[in-house]
């Protein structure tokens, strides 16, 4: 199959297009879905193609609109509700947790099911601050009855969106803003990636790195540097924190004996805590070193670029952590890093890569 390179945004848009085309019950809703920017470009052109009943611009009323989505899902439609910032979805936690997550169970399966997708965009933009750049995935991952997916690549962005829309359950679809401009191979046509927890994004024998979303990119960058230093990371793209399937993680840790987790959100009470705990519970003998978690430190997101220097884990952070765990020669690693990251080092800290056109 020849490579078909799309951006993450294009991949999401293609998933919407395919689902809207295939199933008349699918519709998109939310603030901005029918506007000129189309939720970071992911819904552009779809209003024109499918009309305002399929691409439904909504009032600013997150809890109510989520209830509307649930009600219409119970009647057989498949809404995709979008929040341009995950922070807005906090307004809808009542409907998401009390209703969407519980419905099928609390009616013993006799009350129907809730095939909705709630898409929340996480992560940083320019100086967005405390209320426009949170991540919050553990808040969803804690809730039984939800499924939670966090695609890291363009291919999965499409495949998991299609899977989420076709899933008969409420799925929280989390995309990180710093992934939007990344590119990758995206197969043509309809395909659904299985909602499964762990995909080996890069094989390696020394350290297992379990990462989510944008952190997969950082982990892969780190792996490149470390490989040259003779240390092979096995990078696992978690993809779906709930339902959590430990299969590939356990297999990897059994091989490497070492575990590092990297969260997009706050480290404390984060996704990594569940991974580390499950590994520890299943037996310590497999571990050659104490596991380590990376993630955001315990403070809200500041606006100024000067204050985020140590806030977001980056490839560099992963390299440091693995270096300490493996007792690597950090002088040597540092040289490789300087060489490989030369391009990146020229960019300001609040820009993910040169493809980023900013500002928001």
């Amino acid at each position: 199959m020849p490579e078909r390179i799309l951006t993450y945004v294009e991949a999401v848009r293609e998933a919407f297009d395919i689902c809207l085309e295939r199933d008349a019950n699918v519709y998109l809703m939310g603030e901005g879905v029918a506007d000129l920017k189309g939720v970071f470009g992911t819904t552009l052109g779809l209003l024109e193609k499918y009309g305002p009943d399929r691409v439904v611009e909504t009032p600013t009323a997150e809890n109510g609109m989520t209830g509307v989505a649930i009600g219409s899902a119970l009647m057989g439609q498949r809404p995709v509700m979008m929040h341009q910032r995950v922070d807005f979805s906090l307004l809808a936690f009542d409907q998401i947790v009390n209703n969407a997550a519980n419905w099928h169970y609390m009616y013993g399966g006799k009350g129907g099911n809730v095939p909705i997708v709630i898409r929340v965009v996480i992560g940083q933009g320019w100086g967005q601050g405390a209320q426009h750049a949170q991540c919050l995935e553990p808040l969803f991952a804690h809730i039984p009855g939800l499924k939670v997916v966090m695609p890291a690549t363009a291919g999965d962005a499409k495949g998991l969106m299609i899977a989420a829309i076709e899933d008969p359950n409420p799925v929280i679809y989390i995309d990180h803003r710093w992934l939007h401009h990344t590119t990758g191979h995206v197969p043509e046509g309809h395909y659904a990636s299985p909602i499964k927890s762990g995909r080996v994004a890069r094989g390696g024998k020394d350290v297992t790195v379990v990462a989510t979303s944008h952190m997969v990119i950082q982990a892969l960058r780190a792996a490149e540097v470390l490989a040259e230093a003779g240390c092979e990371l096995e990078v696992i793209d978690l993809m779906a924190p709930r339902p959590l399937d430990m299969g590939s993680i356990n297999k990897s840790v059994a091989k490497t004996g070492r575990l590092v987790t990297v969260d997009t959100g706050w480290r404390s009470f984060g996704v990594g805590a569940e991974i580390v705990s499950r590994v520890a519970e299943s037996g310590l003998s497999v571990l050659k070193a104490a596991p380590k978690r990376l993630g955001l430190p315990d403070h809200p997101t500041p606006s100024s670029r000067a204050l985020v220097v140590d806030y977001y884990p980056r490839a560099e952070t992963i390299i440091q952590t693995v270096g300490a765990m493996m007792v690597l020669d950090m002088k040597k690693v540092s040289k490789i890093q300087t060489r490989l990251f030369a391009e990146r080092a020229k960019l300001p800290i609040d820009i993910p890569d040169s493809s980023f056109t900013g500002p928001f």
């Binding site: 519709y27 009943d53 909504t58 009032p59 009323a61 809890n63 109510g64 609109m65 989520t66 209830g67 509307v68 989505a69 649930i70 009600g71 219409s72 899902a73 119970l74 009647m75 057989g76 439609q77 009542d94 409907q95 009390n98 209703n99 419905w103 099928h104 169970y105 609390m106 009616y107 013993g108 399966g109 006799k110 009350g111 129907g112 099911n113 095939p115 039984p144 009855g145 499924k147 008969p168 359950n169 339902p243």
Partner: protein
């Protein structure tokens, strides 16, 4: 409606009122046995609203209810046995024992669900109406809620959206003057509650919820408007809860509402009022009444027997139905 039909209809309304009343009185009578191990919010005194409004619906229309769900469920045609079995926590319950009294459902009868989060089911009902409109269906959605629910933002968000899209939904607010112990005036300013929906550009009506016929007429108009694509209606139905907010007892002795207020509403009993009307019209003799009561009691007793005798769910199945 032919005279014959009209008579049958009036009789059916009475039957439904009486049946709901008798079911709830029986729940109250038996609650002390501590076999119904979940909270129950009884509608005794409020039956007119449920029965009158649901009488305007077809079986494939849907309703949404609240913590106080029995009357709505039964009035819409929900299965009595499944309801009682649910309250008894049994496998045969309408939710297989997972829901309890506050989560009644009967998909076949159009009881989409009941939710104890105040205001929580209002947008769900609007969502159902949204799909009806999208599908070009003539079905309508009716959402029951209490006077406290209009204090929740979700109410306003829902009505606004329903108004913008002219959705086939009827908002039925049973204004029984209290939210648990708290009177209306401590929670909302002096103004008609209908103003709230009116401000969203929605057609509003107030009526006597204890008058089943008046309620029916208002609901029918609202349903017709909805089916005709003329959009949502908000009905405020004045009524009164006789028993405590949650549980089987009278609690007027506690003093949170005056005895006069209580008595005046009791005198205005929805079942009794309609019975008098039928009596005046010569449609209900004492013998007919007695026979009807006996028949209903028979059904109720059989349903309680069913509920009590049917098995509890197997603990091993507790993890089932998390995902569809």
């Amino acid at each position: 409606m032919s005279e014959e039909h009209a008579r049958e209809f009036l009789e059916r309304l009475y039957r439904d009122l009486l049946r709901v009343r008798m079911v709830e009185e029986e729940i109250a009578a038996r609650y002390g046995e501590k076999e119904m191990r979940c909270p129950v919010h009884l509608s005794v005194g409020q039956e007119g609203a449920a029965v009158g409004a649901c009488a305007a619906l077809e079986r494939d229309d849907v309703i949404l209810s609240t913590h106080r769900s029995h009357a709505h469920y039964l009035a819409k045609g929900g299965d009595l046995k499944a309801m009682l079995a649910e309250i008894y926590g049994k496998e045969a319950g309408c939710c297989g024992g997972r829901g309890g009294s506050m989560h009644l459902v009967d998909a076949a009868a159009g009881v989409l669900g009941a939710l104890p989060i105040v205001g929580g089911s209002i947008p769900i009902g609007v969502g159902a109406a949204f799909t009806f409109r999208n599908q070009g269906s003539s079905r309508v959605s009716m959402v029951f809620f209490g006077d406290a629910a209009v204090e929740e933002g979700a109410f306003h968000e829902s009505v606004n959206f329903a108004a913008v899209h002219k959705l086939p939904v009827i908002f039925v607010c049973e204004n029984n003057l209290y939210s648990v112990f708290t009177p209306y005036a401590m929670r909302q300013p002096q103004r008609p509650i209908t103003d709230l929906a009116g401000a969203h550009g929605v057609k509003v009506q107030s009526g006597n919820g204890n008058d089943v016929l008046e309620t029916y007429r208002l609901a029918r108009e609202a349903v017709q408007r909805a089916r005709a694509g003329e959009g949502p209606t908000f009905l405020e139905l004045a009524t009164y809860r006789w028993l405590e907010h949650c549980g089987p007892n009278y609690d007027n002795d506690l003093g949170y509402r005056s005895q006069e207020e209580f008595e005046s509403w009791r005198a205005n009993c929805p079942v009794e009022q309609h019975r008098r009307l039928l009596g005046k019209m010569g449609l209900l003799s004492d013998e007919q009444e007695a026979a009807l009561r006996e028949e209903i009691l028979g059904e109720i007793n059989a349903a309680f027997d069913f509920a009590k005798e049917s098995p509890l769910p197997d603990a091993k199945t507790a993890g089932d139905h998390v995902y569809a």
